[in-house]
Assembly symmetry: D2
Homo-oligomer: 118 residues x 4
């Protein structure tokens, strides 16, 4: 599905649940953006906590109880939650995430051309 369409669906749902992405003043816009940035941090923090545990498990396999497949399921979940916050923050900023990402990928392609492996 189009990234653009996915973003629209998510924002429509947010608005329905009382989390708008448009604001009457710049002040209110950045107050909400700042809060959502903290929300994004929370999700990436949860992701980080699981990565931390996987790393301890890999360093001390016999001492530390952790099921890797279960941990990877949780990582998936937290990564998706982080992505949803990025969609939301993008919408508050009025960014077309799809167009901007394609544009950045094009610019990175030239920028990193010298690293290309033959």
């Amino acid at each position: 599905m189009d990234l653009k369409k996915i973003a629209e669906m998510q924002i429509k749902m947010d608005e329905l649940h009382g989390f708008p992405v448009q604001f009457p003043t710049t002040q209110e816009k950045y107050q909400q953006l700042t809060k959502d940035l903290v929300g994004l941090f929370g999700e990436i923090g949860e992701f980080s906590n699981i990565v931390k545990k996987v790393n301890i498990k890999l360093d001390r396999p016999d001492e530390y109880p952790l099921e890797l497949p279960e941990a990877e399921n949780l990582l998936k979940e937290e990564l998706v939650d982080s992505f949803i916050y990025i969609i939301r923050i993008g919408a508050i900023l009025g960014i077309d995430l799809q167009a901007e990402t394609l544009d950045k990928m094009r610019r990175n392609e030239s920028r990193y051309a010298k690293l290309r492996r033959k």
Copy 2:
């Protein structure tokens, strides 16, 4: 464009530049994942620094020099960079970001149904 297609393009480019997403051992996979998580943090940190400055500007408009349109251009750039890291981390974990996001949105829809505004 399909999120799935965007992710594939990004990963193909990463691999071409010597940043693989597949690894012979779980150890090497998580070593790279941990490094890319730090990369994601860097991008979100840059985004945060700009938000911080916008907030100071909004609190002290006369004291603090900052051009909002320019700051918003930078915010756009850093958000896209963060998104590219999320694509990359998803690929290392073997996640189908598109399918998982649609699935999570469906589950959130039921979960937050009680918040729905009429």
Copy 3:
């Protein structure tokens, strides 16, 4: 108690528990530093999740169940955990956190002198 002494106590305990701060190679030093940085993200993420909830509570007092005093106890706990990671990362880098902080405060004092309120 001296910050220097607090840091020493924490590091002695870490070493006792099998989390060294000195490494035979730069590679191993940065591998551990990178892991501990992810640990720090985890703690700040937990802190962020609680701040997020407090902010929702303040925005929607009647809809959202949260006890502020309990939330503040958790914030305290997560902030201290974040600080302990900063001590640990500082020790891996061989930083004298106390001396460097006092030095930075002195430099900030000159740098922000123009902001001083009369």
Copy 4:
């Protein structure tokens, strides 16, 4: 120097520069706390960007230009800036960082006793 004294000096300077840590309402307190949390993200993000570069340098020593001693000086600086934000956030929350850290260390000592190496 006492951590308590260091924190007091930092807060006194913040207040002098127009960044208070006490607020008339809980709303204003958490608005500022949320902003300072974003400031902390910014500092840890800058720290992360340097760690990212050091890791690339260690992986690709011949391809990537970076002076390790210079990078470590920057890491020191960013870590101290992160610590100063932690002091500030602690003051907004009315936390006695020194007492709470010593208390947490004592609790960790019992909690991790089973990991102790002989």
